[in-house]
């Protein structure tokens, strides 16, 4: 007798979800609290600050009055577009599996990973331009919270890339086994990875206006 955990693939009737989907929602709830804690810290620190961002601009060397004078809004906007696009390709990769189109899955998942890497490259340029002006997290509170929040978000992006790369590469053997249950299981996994990925996207959509614009 095999020890198979119930509701691994099929949803339980009274709750309407399978185990992994409930698990990922709970995980995301804890992530909301993690970023929520940091956002609360951001508000707390900003309310207590004498000036925000409290530093000179890089070109005119006057005191900046808005965050966008020291951060690059165009690069952040580009990153927003990249992340939203990657969320779309993520959904398409799942939809391809649902339609039994493995090639489509490979294509869209590959694009998701590339876009995510693109996000990190843009981020690296952004960080690099700060360092080239000899400012970093230790310069002041504003840059400190900027680096911690965006850095933690970038770590989440990296985690997503690792998971997605696994599903794009070695993880596909579950689908390729051809067994219907395994195929359904694999499709579930992509859906779960997608939920995580959309969350990472969503965090950025909160981060962007809060740090760069407001």
């Amino acid at each position: 007798m095999e020890l198979l955990i119930p509701y691994e693939v099929t949803p339980r009737r009274d709750t309407g979800v399978n185990n992994a989907k409930l698990g990922i929602w709970l995980f995301l709830a804890s992530e909301v609290m993690l970023f929520g804690g940091l956002f609360a810290a951001y508000i707390f620190l900003r309310m207590g600050a004498d000036a925000w961002p409290g530093m000179e601009t890089f070109d005119t060397h006057e005191m900046a009055t808005r965050a966008d004078q020291v951060l690059s809004v165009p690069l952040a906007t580009l990153n927003t577009v990249i992340l939203i696009a990657s969320s779309v390709t993520m959904v398409l990769s799942w939809a391809s599996l649902k339609m039994d189109n493995f090639k489509g899955f490979r294509l869209h998942m590959g694009l998701t990973i590339l876009l995510a890497l693109g996000f990190l490259v843009v981020k690296a340029f952004e960080y690099g331009s700060k360092f080239s002006h000899h400012v970093g997290p230790d310069t002041n509170i504003f840059l400190g919270i900027y680096f911690v929040l965006t850095g933690l978000h970038a770590l989440h992006v990296t985690g997503g890339i690792i998971v997605n790369a696994y599903f794009w590469g070695p993880g596909t053997r579950m689908w390729l086994s051809g067994n219907e249950r395994d195929k359904a299981h694999f499709t579930n996994r992509i859906e779960i990875a997608g939920l995580y990925w959309h969350f990472v996207d969503l965090v950025w959509i909160f981060l962007f206006p809060m740090i760069y614009l407001v």
Binding site: P6, L34, A40, L45, D138, N140, I141, F147
Partner: protein, 587 residues
């Protein structure tokens, strides 16, 4: 697929190697025992740290054999690590990791946790978090010294041990988060047929609410931990105000941060954490009280509603730890009100347990003794907390020994007695053998008396104004002179408590192999499902011979009209006679 093979392997009793069976096991019962043994070790270790501190407090400066006189730095390390170890590496892993893991799937009729491999990962995160914490004693200048609360600015500028503390906490928090997700998914998804939410044993309910608290309260502390790590490693000053001066002169930081921010984030976790410490204990006691009074719990639903309310309220009381920070009377007023409100559901649960005793024919078994010990001790712990929930009385008492006495009454003679009760109660399930009763009774009386000898004088000293965290126990202050003699009482009691753990330790290891074998799987004549598991000891992976179906409420003892002394939850009702069926139709 790997999972299937693993399960099939262990279930069919194929020969699996030692490491796979005991160290990388995915069986919730083995993982529960791993948690239990590791946590008991940490509890003992944390207690020994405190014994050394109590030696110093009773006779300041007198050399300890083998160790020499305690230096203030060592005292601070031991104090900070005692708190951390007891809370995060001792009680929570034992209450949640061990009992939760072992008992919850059995009680809801599941074959395992929802994510067995994640469960294994939780244990390993916990284990390595513990190792990092222990290793921090050996880094230059030793372990963390800023107290278990790690308040900045001190913690920000502390030595390397504090960084280790933060990394250790990140691992422990990860472990708890993974565990919480697993418990919630298991309880929601894997309840067997007929096991509705209101048929779940109270213990499962307490684990359910506890898991929610861990899931939602720990991440803000993790956020705070990241910020403190950034302060220490990246040079930010989230918790460092401008113009900070230390003994070495002005601090070279950008400043602009707020030490108060840490306190908010820390207590946002640490108050729910108090309930993480106490709720599973209440669950264990409820199981044992119902089983040994041979009655259903009085007000089961009321208890469950109180529990849920308690869990919710625990998120909005945190700042009652911060009345003396000067955060303002308006905020204080809010948190005083919520704190007074949260005491109500706690009292409801405790009262329900007391009322359950009323008119019961109580079996004074060893677990029941511990459970009965829990009730008044937790009562003292709770009642001594009321003055601390109101700012006017908290301000003079805060940071005195009164606070130490109060919360130790909650967690030591409170939670720890309940955890011992749990060990005595479920040991026959885990091993197929019982713990020795005589040794158990010696353990109980010795423990409860010496615990009171330690913690009651703390309340007196605190009311006299003796501060906590004093290296010399108050010797330097004239006002503490009248209560100074209690230091010796407490230290001797602590030594006695240490000695009275030996009957337990001996009992525990001797009974594993040599204890009296249980005559039947349902050793305590209990009704909940863990006693209906496969009657092979220890219970094999998979838990049940056939998946059980639940027909009844959790505590059907001495049901009026039934000729049975108790009715297991999975006992099918007898087929209705024709007359009864007709009666039902007419009604």
């Amino acid at each position: 697929m790997a999972t299937k093979d693993d399960h099939a392997g262990s279930h069919e009793g194929h020969h699996v190697g030692f490491w796979r069976k005991y160290w990388f096991s995915t069986d919730h019962k083995v993982i529960g025992i791993q948690y239990g043994i590791t946590a008991l070790f940490f509890l003992l270790f944390g207690f020994i740290l405190m014994l050394l501190m109590r030696w110093q407090l009773a006779s300041p400066g007198v050399e300890i054999p083998l160790l020499g006189a305690l230096t203030p730095e060592m005292y601070n390390q031991f104090g900070a690590m005692h708190g951390t170890i007891m809370v995060f590496m001792g009680i929570v892993p034992l209450a949640v990791g061990a009992f939760g893991n072992y008992v919850v799937p059995l009680q809801i009729g599941a074959i395992d946790m929802a994510f067995p491999r994640l469960n294994m990962a939780s244990y390993h995160f916990f284990f390595w978090g513990g190792i990092v914490m222990l290793a921090s004693f050996f880094v230059p200048q030793g372990a963390a010294k800023a107290g278990w609360t790690s308040y900045p600015p001190l913690a920000d500028i502390e030595t390397m041990g504090q960084t280790m503390w933060l990394w250790g906490m990140v691992l422990l928090i990860t472990s708890s988060l993974l565990g919480a997700i697993n418990f919630l998914t298991t309880i929601i998804q894997l309840r067997t047929e007929g096991m509705t939410f209101f048929r779940m044993p109270f213990f499962v309910w307490t684990q359910f609410v506890t898991a929610f608290l861990l899931l939602l309260a720990f991440p803000p502390l993790e956020a705070a931990g990241f910020l403190q790590l950034a302060d220490r490693l990246l040079g930010t000053s989230f918790f460092l105000p401008s113009g900070l001066v230390t003994a070495e002169g002005p601090l070279e930081v950008s400043g602009g941060g707020s030490p108060l921010l840490w306190q908010h984030l820390f207590w946002f976790l640490a108050h729910p954490e108090v309930y993480v410490l106490i709720l599973p204990a209440m669950g264990i006691v409820a199981e044992i009280v119902a089983n040994n009074t041979r009655k259903p719990l009085w007000g089961y639903r009321l208890m469950v509603y109180s529990l849920i309310f308690l869990g919710f309220m625990s998120f909005i009381v945190w700042a009652h730890h911060m009345f003396i920070t000067g955060m303002g009377t308006a905020i204080s007023a809010f948190f005083q009100v919520t704190t007074m409100i949260i005491s109500i559901p706690s009292v409801v649960i405790l009262s329900a347990l007391f009322i359950t005793l009323w008119g019961g024919s109580i079996r004074f078994s060893t677990p029941m003794l511990f459970a009965l010990g829990f009730l008044p001790m937790f009562g003292i712990g709770g009642l001594t907390g009321l003055p601390l929930g109101l700012a006017p009385t908290d301000i003079p008492l805060h940071d005195t020994y009164y606070v130490i006495g109060h919360f130790h009454y909650v967690v030591a003679p409170g939670t720890i007695l309940a955890l011992f009760a749990g060990i005595y109660y479920w040991f026959p399930k885990m091993t197929g053998r019982t713990l020795n009763d005589t040794l158990g009774k010696v353990h109980f009386w010795g423990t409860i008396i010496s615990m009171n000898g330690i913690f009651f004088p703390m309340l007196i000293q605190g009311l006299a104004g003796v501060s906590r965290r004093l290296f010399d126990g108050g010797l330097a202050y004239s006002f503490s002179e009248p209560v100074l003699e209690y230091n010796m009482v407490m230290s001797v009691s602590a030594a006695a408590l240490f000695l009275f753990q030996f009957p337990f330790i001996i009992n525990f290891f001797m009974s594993m192999k040599g204890g009296k074998k249980v005559e039947k799987a349902n050793h305590w004549d209990a009704t909940t499902l863990e006693w209906s598991a496969t009657p092979i000891m220890p219970v094999p992976h998979g838990n049940f011979e056939t998946v059980p179906r639940v027909y009844r409420d959790p505590y059907e003892y001495n049901v009026p009209g039934s000729d049975q002394p108790y009715l297991s939850q999975d006992l099918a009702p007898p087929p209705a006679t024709r007359a009864e069926a007709l009666e039902k139709v007419e009604a």
